[in-house]
Symmetry: C2
Subunit: 335 residues, 2 copies
Amino acid sequence: MIRLTLSDAHSLAQSILLHAGFSAAHATAVSATIVAGERDGCASHGLYRVLGCVSTLKAGKVVADAQPEVIDQAPSIVRVDAAGGFSQLAFQAGLPMLQNKARENGIAALAINRCVHFSALWVEIEQLAEAGFVALAFTPSHAWVAPAGGHQPVFGTNPVAFGWPRPGKHPYVFDFATSAIARGDIELHRRAGKTIPEGWGVDEQGQPSTDPNVVLDRGAMLTFGGHKGSALATMVELIAGPLIGDLTSAESLAHADGSKSSPYHGELLIALDPRRFLGAATDQHLARAETLFESIEGQGARLPSQRRFEARARSLEEGVQIPEALYHDLKALLA
Amino acid sequence: MIRLTLSDAHSLAQSILLHAGFSAAHATAVSATIVAGERDGCASHGLYRVLGCVSTLKAGKVVADAQPEVIDQAPSIVRVDAAGGFSQLAFQAGLPMLQNKARENGIAALAINRCVHFSALWVEIEQLAEAGFVALAFTPSHAWVAPAGGHQPVFGTNPVAFGWPRPGKHPYVFDFATSAIARGDIELHRRAGKTIPEGWGVDEQGQPSTDPNVVLDRGAMLTFGGHKGSALATMVELIAGPLIGDLTSAESLAHADGSKSSPYHGELLIALDPRRFLGAATDQHLARAETLFESIEGQGARLPSQRRFEARARSLEEGVQIPEALYHDLKALLA
């Protein structure tokens, strides 16, 4: 393993993205979310993603110098046209207006359109929660997941993320795929020649399958939680697709046209300002939420993201460690 | 079984509620949602609930003539103080302002406070979707459900409901508990002396239990979908509790103080206006949503609520049927 300080990790990612041809603004914004993933122990959203950014650019599937355009769509809606660039810069561009609208009106939405998306949603949700907002985020991906009772892929892994501000503490944040498992986990089982647990996927007749080849190549992945997870995945398609005038997971997969590039579509964020709901009583009611968290942690259950926050504390002290092979693959991109 | 026309069913419910002492406005609003439940084949939210309304009033746990107060909280927030009455009239009172704010600003929230709640959320969601809005609803209940990894009840059955408008068709609507199963289903197993499937509940040490007595009396129910369902249940507590200045499921259960009355707390609804997101392209993007629905139904999978809509079509033709014993119990309340 190679150890890097967070600052070195950021410089490495940024220099590779610049060298590949991304604009300075994109290289900086993308590096920040990639280093956040690595820092928080989410290797699947960490430095390894730099390789995907470069290959997506080489495949002509992302605009290296896209200028996000911020549109004041309605009193409580901001729209950002990412113009074919990665989502991070578009989110940054829309964030101030989203916050202003939520502060002014109590609730507001940010629709990001035409972005290439690979970022974990918690990175964005955390920024909103740290700024005092309750926040939700949704995005489709590529159609890999069948609806409950079906056998053909319709949904993406369609994550749902939520954040709640906790004064003086890390916010309460969750961010989960509505698929039973990440596609990458099934890929890992395939490479290792292992079967997968029941519940992850079906064959082309809709029968449960434990063969990763069948699930990935001919059948489909499943949602978590049966028909309830399937309903949530449908909701994500609708509100982060047609509602914002952007692609569904099926349309995004068709757009990729066989390339391994990141999904291209939209994202919906919703921000709610507790101070507009609660006025002078805000602090008192946020304290009642702490009682709820205590009743969960007090019985030995964990809050989501705690593992991430623990990894973060370690990384801030010790830096991050990445496999030597990955380090060399990254360095090779600077040649 | 006794057969009733929908009109007779409504008159029966209404006359009982009036006789029990509810104001005409409450009797009419509550009867409408109860008959909607019976009509759609949801007996658990049907005429049987009239008994619970009357017993809740006799227990002093609902205000029979509460006047909901509508408060223009912020440009995109309506608040309705239900003043201790059932939720239905409060929802009705707040609905026009919610719709106006969503139409004007693109997204708006309705917070209902201090209501006694037993209504299915789809009744409300459907009204918003029929009026052209995308809608979400959340409410806590009584603390019966343990967090993932825990063994003590913290959450209610905490439903999440969603609606999407489909021009010329019934809207796409789902409404599900974030608990693995309704509490009533576990009660039915207890009465029948049957064990319950694994995954519905745990004992007081957090071990899986198939004994309904253990789960109901000493252990706790579980959420659907493991840690993901548990995260959603937490979100419902937060956004339909502290965010709107109202009780959590634990506080609501404490308020009931051993009585079997309906939960007393708040509800959060969010309405989004597709026309403010999409402008002139609205119809084109709603048509793309229909392609998504076709890709689900075309492979033999069902959309949520289809069973309800089928039951509704039958009930509109043939009326509803209720058990004779229930009919006599209801009639007895008019004596």
